[in-house]
């Protein structure tokens, strides 16, 4: 085990710089951040005139567009996601107080937020060409629905692309799923959800009963993400390439 290296010559000045970071805190309280988070998930609408604690206005715009129907789509997305966590379920269950009554129509809030919305941000850009390529290969209506339900932010685009691939795999289109994951990697070379994407491709390989590909993908995954939460499942799949 390597011992910890020392400072070459730590000075008071360096210590002062480093110590300054300890007092740094988010500008808004955690409750406000949580509210913005649930708004961003599209499950909670901001109350009219709600102070989102300085949240970027596009959160408000996103939230205002998110009707309960969008929430249901998120839940469907989670359901299609199989082993994936349905964040919406958690949020919906945990944060009822943050929700507006179901009977309250979303349109006034949408209009209100729309007035305050800034010019298109990253979260509101039209889907990229890559996203269009992915939708051109959309395998199911569910995939289409999922793609449209999520705002085309970079992470949302990643989520959407992986969910479309997962849906293809669930529907038996294993080669299509693997192709979609390869395209995902082309378009998001440093994707935040790269391990999740690789697991979808691995499971598609299992679905194909392709022992060689399962083994190759599992080895590659474990080499890159040995401590990933999926690693235990991937090891199991490597030992049981037919999934049983």
């Amino acid at each position: 085990m390597s011992s910890e290296p020392g400072w070459p010559e730590e000075t008071m000045f360096e210590r002062r710089l480093l110590a300054s970071a300890r007092g740094d805190r988010p500008p808004h309280d955690v409750t406000g951040a949580w509210t913005r988070f649930t708004v961003r998930l599209g499950l909670v609408l901001p109350a009219p005139g709600a102070d989102l604690g300085g949240a970027p206005a596009h959160f408000a715009a996103i939230g205002a567009r998110a009707s309960r129907r969008a929430a249901v789509k998120w839940l469907l997305l989670g359901a299609f996601g199989g082993g994936g966590v349905t964040a919406g379920v958690m949020v919906e269950r945990r944060a009822p107080a943050l929700e507006r009554p179901a009977a309250q129509p979303p349109e006034p809030a949408a209009a209100q937020a729309g007035e305050a919305a800034p010019p298109a941000t990253m979260e509101e850009r039209p889907p990229s060409k890559a996203a269009h390529r992915a939708t051109a290969h959309r395998p199911t209506r569910a995939g289409v629905r999922a793609h449209r339900a999520v705002e085309p932010s970079r992470l949302a685009a990643e989520v959407s692309r992986i969910d479309i691939a997962r849906t293809a795999s669930t529907n038996g289109d294993f080669d299509g799923a693997i192709r979609l994951i390869e395209r995902y990697h082309d378009d998001f070379p440093e994707g935040a959800l790269a391990p999740d994407a690789d697991v979808v491709a691995l499971e598609a390989a299992v679905g194909k009963h392709d022992r060689g590909e399962v083994s190759r993908r599992a080895r590659s995954f474990l080499a890159r993400y040995p401590n990933d939460p999926h690693a235990a499942r991937v090891r199991w799949l490597a030992e049981h390439p037919l999934g049983r």
């Binding site: 710089l17 300054s20 988070f37 998930l41 945990r94 992470l155 440093e190």
Partner: protein
């Protein structure tokens, strides 16, 4: 741990980590929310007691993307552009108000390569042991140790230059 509890427990530290990893102040909240979005989708995969490691790992990836994207959009500050603080107090150390010190810290961190920056931040600011950093970064402990040594060397050099410039500007020896 349920999502809300996870969020409320770890949001401040993830926010701070992202900031020190080079995410612009105006983007830190968005980036922190991306981290928790990933966590939300993988909540059942997170082993109890390892929530912090998981979130740190995601935060490193999110910060790396943010910094790469930002570096394409605007040039990073170079050491020559480090703001000079004009203050007539006697020493560089005493000149530094908390906020100014943080601004300098961020400038110094900006001058480090991202891999060295991450190890330095995780160890010096977040208090993680090398073993934990190695696990989060999926690198051998020896590599983490080597990165920490290089990060400290570079950070020391940068800090020395900053201090010299501050003192020169303040007319102090």
């Amino acid at each position: 741990m349920e999502l809300r509890a996870l969020f409320e427990t770890h949001y401040p530290s993830i926010w701070r980590l992202l900031r020190r990893l080079g995410v612009r102040h105006a983007r830190v909240d968005d980036a922190a929310q991306e981290v928790f979005w990933v966590a939300a989708r993988r909540l059942s995969d997170i082993e109890p007691g390892r929530e912090h490691s998981f979130l740190y790992g995601v935060a490193l990836r999110v910060a790396s993307q943010e910094v790469r994207r930002e570096s394409g959009a605007m040039p990073l500050a170079t050491l020559e552009e480090v703001p000079l603080l004009v203050d007539e107090r006697p020493s560089a150390e005493e000149q530094l108000a908390e906020r100014q010190a943080r601004a300098l810290l961020d400038d110094a961190l900006d001058a480090l390569p991202q891999d060295l920056r991450a190890v330095l931040v995780l160890h010096e600011l977040e208090g993680l042991e090398l073993r934990q950093i190695a696990e989060i970064e999926a690198i051998p402990v020896g590599t983490a140790s080597s990165r920490l040594r290089r990060a400290r060397e570079e950070f020391s050099l940068i800090a020395k230059r900053m201090r010299a410039r501050l003192q020169a500007r303040g007319g102090n020896g």
